[in-house]
């Protein structure tokens, strides 16, 4: 996979994961064009289109478009499964996920994606394992927050900052 974009029906970007090195300007250009192209598709059309020299696989879930760019030799149908699996993971994590969850917790969306795909390839095919890994990392994060916060407030209290 070369990149994955999530965007709303109004064309607002909600997540962008790039697996190929491109300048910021190029990324913006690609995003703009692709968003326009996909949003112009009618609802009954198939999930695949050719764009430049890439194959684009996209699927709409509620108000969000999930859009992946794959190479010529990649399997379109399995990419649909990849998208679906990612949505399932988000759903399990957030409990009935909606666009707002992804907006307000965008960093979590990235963390989840990074436990499912790595370098553009699938790294873990077990839903359970992915969610377990996220859980552990979240826990670690909580602990490290607490560790960080506590000493400071104590020091503050006794007037030594």
């Amino acid at each position: 996979m070369q990149f994955m974009l999530l965007f709303s029906r109004q064309g607002k970007l909600r997540l962008q994961k790039w697996y190929v090195p491109l300048s910021d300007k190029e990324k913006k250009k690609i995003t703009r064009e692709l968003v326009q192209t996909v949003l112009a598709r009618k609802p009954k059309m198939c999930s695949f289109l050719e764009w430049r020299d890439l194959k684009i696989v996209y699927k709409r879930y509620a108000s969000l478009y999930f859009c992946c760019a794959i190479e010529d030799q990649d399997n379109e149908l399995i990419t649909l499964e990849i998208i679906h699996r990612y949505v399932e993971l988000l759903d399990k994590y957030f409990g009935s996920v909606c666009e707002l969850d992804i907006i307000f917790n965008f960093e979590k969306a990235y963390f989840i994606l990074d436990e499912f795909l790595l370098g553009g390839e699938v790294q873990e095919t077990s839903k359970k394992n992915v969610l377990k890994a996220i859980e552990q990392a979240d826990l670690l994060q909580e602990v490290s927050y607490k560790e960080a916060e506590t000493p400071r407030s104590v020091l503050e209290e006794i007037g030594l900052t």
Binding site: P21, C46, L77, R85, L118, T125, N129, Q136, S144
Partner: protein, 783 residues
Amino acid sequence: MVVPSLKLQDLIEEIRGAKTQAQEREVIQKECAHIRASFRDGDPLHRHRQLAKLLYVHMLGYPAHFGQMECLKLIASPRFSDKRMGYLGAMLLLDERQDAHLLITNSIKNDLSQGSQPVQGLALCTLSTVGSAEMCRDLATEVEKLLLQPSPYVRKKAVLTAVHMIRKVPELSNIFLPPCAQLLQERHHGILLGTITLITELCEGSPAALRHFRKVVPQLVEILRTLVTSGYSAEHSISGVSDPFLQVQILRLLRILGRNHEDSSETMNDLLAQVATNTETSRNAGNAVLLETVLTIMDIRSAAGLRVLAVNILGRFLLNSDKNIRYVALTSLLRLVQSDHSAVQRHRSTVVECLQEPDTSLSRRALELSLALVNSSNVRSMTRELQGFLESCPPDLRADCASGILLAAERFAPTKRWHIDTILHVLTTAGTHVRDDAVANLTQLIGGAQELHAYSVCRLYSALAEDISQQPLVQVAAWCIGEYGDLLLEGSCEETEPLQVEEEEVLVLLEKVLQSHMSLPATRGYALTALMKLSTRLRGDNNRIRQVVSIYGSCLDVELQQRAVEYNTLFRKYDHMRAAILEKMPLMERGGPQVDEEAEESKEARLSEAAPVPTEPQASKLLDLLDLLDGTSGDSQHPPLDPSPGGTLVHLLDLPCAPPALAPIPNVKVFEREGLQLNLSFARPSEIPALLLITATATNSSGSDVTHFVCQAAVPKSIQLQLQAPSGDTVPAQGGLPITQLLRILNPNKAPLRLKLRLTYNHFGQSVQEIFEVNNLPLETWQ
């Protein structure tokens, strides 16, 4: 006083609350100022939160480069929450084009060697997403160490990081090839999947690696067999298919290993048959596996029965109610149509039905595939279908459809009349979308079919009378009426309804074309010339024509004006020659087919692999293969006249179609063996009498292709010979595209021409060499 910084979610809330773009910008600019200050002051506690906010506004499109150094600091921090955010920031802001990029190398190194598993995971993730070639070189050994770590969580990530490293720095394959054997023994699906991906990458990069990994084919077959036969697993099954991701990846690797290799292909035959027949087809997951299976079967040296099975699966896909499945079926069949033509032909009727798809991505594919499936036995019915499609198809497909029909007609027309009818129909339906040479082709075709002159002109007249807006049609019709106006007026055509046309009507129609604002300048030229020709064909007096001609003598269009003036002069001063000049045109000779280099080059860009993947035939590429405009030099034949009017009269006959070739020297056949024939045709440009242009044409009527064809020639010392590059080195069987080659012979002394030819080629699986002297050269070639 320390102002508490906004929480991430609060900021997002505020931004979303902004009613206008300007307001949003204000909020963000204010917050970014805070963030900048916070970075400057170096607040370690909240750094990760500040970065998170910055990343959010970055996603909205605002600049965030001042956060780059903060990413570094966060990554270097011992706290997990910092690292997590820092690495995320690095992946979003620190791609390899940034100067700060390399600075994370050290942190990553530390984290890889000393960090906890989650931390190692973060480092590997970042490395595999944005790692530059230099970083990959630096950190390769660290990653290699992690491949053998006990924790599957880290190992699966290390394997995929290795994949990224090899993509960036192919030499690193040396490091990552040895561990593969052991990794392949893994039971953990994630590690296994990563390993298969790694092996695939290694094999694609080096033929040596490919040979090396052929020996794991039996092992891969076993792994896949276990997957397919194992029952439901809550962890890995999707819609009744065990771990489709892993299955697809294994199938892909098997494809690469089995390609062009009999033994490997045989080893996997049974398993592929098993997967093809047993996989659940009701949901997308199963179909994904089936698709990959089909692609693998078709690409390796599989048994014929298996290939038929695969194509039939695609045929079933075509009937699937899911649009996506139909789409991949059409795409895959298109890839196979060249190599497995007869198998794909079986599904022709289904493909043709797909033309009616409302989704243009599908109908476009269906069109390409339909055009590729036209052959001499189905050309009539296919053309009917395609013509039907042309009438109702979306505008962006019209041009391709029209060109495709014309090309198919060109290649497979059963009769000349059918061919003319077909072109006529295309011109009437989609005249504006046809290529420019369609007019030339049609006039040439009609010109060559003497028995159909009356029929053609009658039909064209009727078509023109109905509609004068389609320019190519108008041009051809005008030409025909001009040439065969007498036949039109006789009304003696048996093949269509008898047409009673008065002379006046014909003239009125042509005048209408001349005056219409829809007519292009070229069209007007055709019409004017046609009128002029009619002056000799019609029996009535020519006053009307003379009038029109003289009016156009002051036309604003220079081209038209020139013609009109010339014709006027013809009426007034050279009336005695008018009949001779306006005689019917002689039959034009076609130029030989030439490969269009430009079309080839643009196709090269699409074909990325060196492996023999069959090319996707597209209508436009096929059309470019036949460049039918005659490019060789040759003067138009015209009666000798005084120099000054002669100059303008030559222009008169310079009609916009191929000029008649000067061929007073007859063609000779110089060689024939088992269906391969070599003919020589001659041309002598009048400006250089000593120069003789010989075109050698190799044709093949046998059942087997002729390949590696090379023709060499030798002439006596007093004569100069120049051999130009041939059009190709393959003559396909059954009258396929011939090879042409130009020989230039300069013989100023008029020495007797002797020509010795040496041919080498492969035919019927044997290599052939023939050396002979051409002994039937006509005298005119050197006298």
